[in-house]
Amino acid sequence: MKTKTLKKARPAVAVLKPVPFLREAKPVVPAKQRRLHFGGRWEYAPAPETVPVKIDPRHELFIDGKFVAPRSGQYFDSINPATEEKLCEIAQAGAEDVDRAVQAARRAYETVWSKMSGRDRGKYLFRVARLVQEKARELAVLESMDGGKPIKESRDFDLPMVAAHFFYHGGWADKLQYAFPGKTPRPLGVAGQIIPWNFPLLMAAWKIAPALACGNTVVLKPSKTTSITALRLARIFQEAGLPGGVVNIVTGPAATGEAIYHHPDVNKIAFTGSTEVGKIIAKVCAGTGKKLTLELGGKAANIILEDAPVDQAVEGIVSGIYFNQGHVCCAGSRLFVQEGVAAAVIRKLRDRIQTLRVGNPLDKNTDVGAINSGAQLEKIRELVRSGEEEGAQVEQSACALPARGYWFPPTFLTNVTMSHRVAREEIFGPVLSVMTFRTPEEALERANNTPYGLSAGVWTDKGSKIFKMVGQLRAGVVWANSYNKFDPASPFGGYKESGFGREGGAQGLSSYVQLS
């Protein structure tokens, strides 16, 4: 038997070349046919969420601790964007109703809430956190039905985060002086809060928890297309024994929100939504003495350097833009990939999106749910069309879409240039614009070349590069080797036209106090 002499030790760096003589016996798939097939072998059976929920056919306003009919007498329909079916009717608050709510908030502030110890305010928030945890399953199902997001996300991300926000802020209520060394923090009074439809219950928690912790009372308007879970939260406030008027919920369209930020007896306005509306609110509030914080749109750059942990970077791209159907203000909607690894990244991205399951939000295996409304779907379509017209290449996952409901498949555009509309305007959908760069300085320049400044992502294996880029990106939240990470202890908010003010952490409290 022939014995083989051992080869000399090779250098430490492995070289990507197959060793010829050992590969003879193995079949080699020719380059043109080398593809991964994500097809029908071993199909997943439907896995519908089975928790039964009861949705009342009609929902009233929540004012002064009670559910009351709107003086306007009007109601609007709330529909399930996955099926286009009507879920229920929601009360429409007119200016008179908003005024009632503000009065209730003022009364509660003057007579109860501002007199209460921080300790006790905290206890109410802890109670709410616990109740949210107890009712989490039901709330998650409702959130998915009302807004279109997958049950997997509402169950595993939204709801736990809602509870965490109440819990975190409950702990600040009796410790505010530690967040403002050298100053005495006092509440502002009545806070008017307007929230969007992309994370309905979570945005309500982001607004209500710090406001209450700091001693303010609240008038909150959920988005017209997603009111149901906010009203369930109102029931939780009742169950927690929260004094009437501390939180008031007035449902309705944009006009209801206008009534809030025009109201003279509101001390503070907090708005999360589009930059366009944010500017209108800023104009209305100018000179009125109202404190204002805005959390607006974004067009975040997700930057992949050639020394990134590349497979995880692709995961980061996917969670950056396809999470929550791209309905995320801080979505990584512009991909900047270093030219040397661009082909590999795009190829991996193309394969990866084939395994994203689009469909019934109540199916536990769904990754990407429905687009929130017909209006939003049209906006996404229009922008993607513009991309094509302006010369970019559109690539989409080959998923089957349900016949009814509002759907858009995970999409990315290549050959995008900085002046394309898809590179400049916020699409707010599962659409990624891909561009390349050569050096980190170029990446920074391109990333910062936008009026927005909410967030950014950086992927590299080199620590010093991370800190350098974090330091130079003009964005309020920078994710290094990660994306879309949130925590109540981590302040969130934007630079430039993405808004001002922070939510979460010690910094997030400052919007809800006056210091002396």
Partner: protein, 291 residues
């Protein structure tokens, strides 16, 4: 049915490693009420029990520190829930031991519950308040973060029987430390009942260990133990203070004395966020900023 039902007497055991155990020495001591009447017997901890408690506390500290701050906060809050649920029984336990009237005993329990809630809210905040990003003069990212020191011995005063124990141990464990507690020598029973509340609060075994017995006997062993990182002492007598502070000379134990009178514990002096800083270590790290 007989008018006088024969009751079952409770055995008050030490709480070590999440288990209720008798002293390895087999000794016990009688607990008396203020009138001198015998209440129950409780275990008389030996230096070997102390050794076992530290041996349980060390690995427990590792796991406890790795849990998220949020989870530690939730567990402390749950301890408050459990104590609230059994507040009546705990107040009765205090009354029978100390003779305090039911209102005073209840006030002590209520305050202990509120202290637990207060400190539960610190777990995910103290790093922001006590830590920092430091503006050094070179191109480096420099941050300071507080980390738990490890195993902390906590020595409670004789009175009141519950409130100081809770007020001392909560700021110690919220950061991820584990604790070996020497409970009140004069009124030990409420502390051991409190151990039952901890045992049903999802607190991992070994994070809090409670020993009862004689301070004078155990103090020298606490001071000399090489695997204790810090001592927090609220016992009023100077001899104990001297012995325990001497522990620093042995292995550089961190030492903090809490000088509060029995009444002080009922005031804001018994709820001091800066106590948290006494059992953390501040780690500062540097990393270059550059392409």
């Amino acid at each position: 049915m007989s008018a006088l039902r024969l009751d079952i007497r409770k055995t008050y055991k030490l709480y070590i490693g999440g288990n209720f155990v008798r002293s390895e020495s087999g000794r016990s001591l009688p607990a008396h009420d203020p009138a001198g009447l015998l209440l129950d017997n409780f275990c008389h901890a030996s230096r070997k029990d102390l050794r076992d408690a530290v041996a349980a506390a060390r690995p427990a500290a590792g796991g406890w520190a790795k849990k998220t701050a949020y989870l530690r906060g939730q567990i402390l809050y749950r301890a408050a829930e459990m104590l609230e649920n059994r507040a009546g029984a705990m107040a009765a336990e205090i009354s029978r031991s100390t003779g305090a009237d039911s209102a005073k005993a209840r006030a002590e329990v209520d305050l202990a519950i509120d202290r637990l809630v207060y400190f539960a809210g610190w777990t995910d905040k103290f790093a922001q308040v006590f830590g920092a990003v430091n503006p050094v003069a070179t191109s480096h990212f420099n941050f300071t973060t507080p980390e738990p020191t490890g195993v902390v011995a906590v020595v409670a005063p004789d009175e009141p029987p519950l409130l100081p124990l809770v007020s001392l141990v909560a700021p110690v464990i919220l950061t991820g430390n584990s604790a070996v507690v020497l409970a009140s020598e004069k009124f030990p029973l409420p502390a051991l009942t409190f151990a039952e509340i901890l045992a049903t609060s999802d607190l991992p075994g070994g994070v809090i260990n409670i020993l009862t017995g004689r301070r004078a006997e155990l103090a020298p062993h606490l001071a000399g133990h090489m695997d204790i990182n810090a001592i927090v002492n609220a016992a009023p007598e100077p001899e104990t203070h001297l012995t325990l502070q001497g522990g620093t000379a042995v292995n550089l134990k961190r030492y903090a004395a809490r000088k509060l009178s029995a009444e002080d514990w009922f005031t804001a002096a018994g709820e001091d966020a800066y106590w948290i800083a006494d059992t953390v270590e501040f780690k500062t790290a540097w990393h270059p900023i550059g392409f």
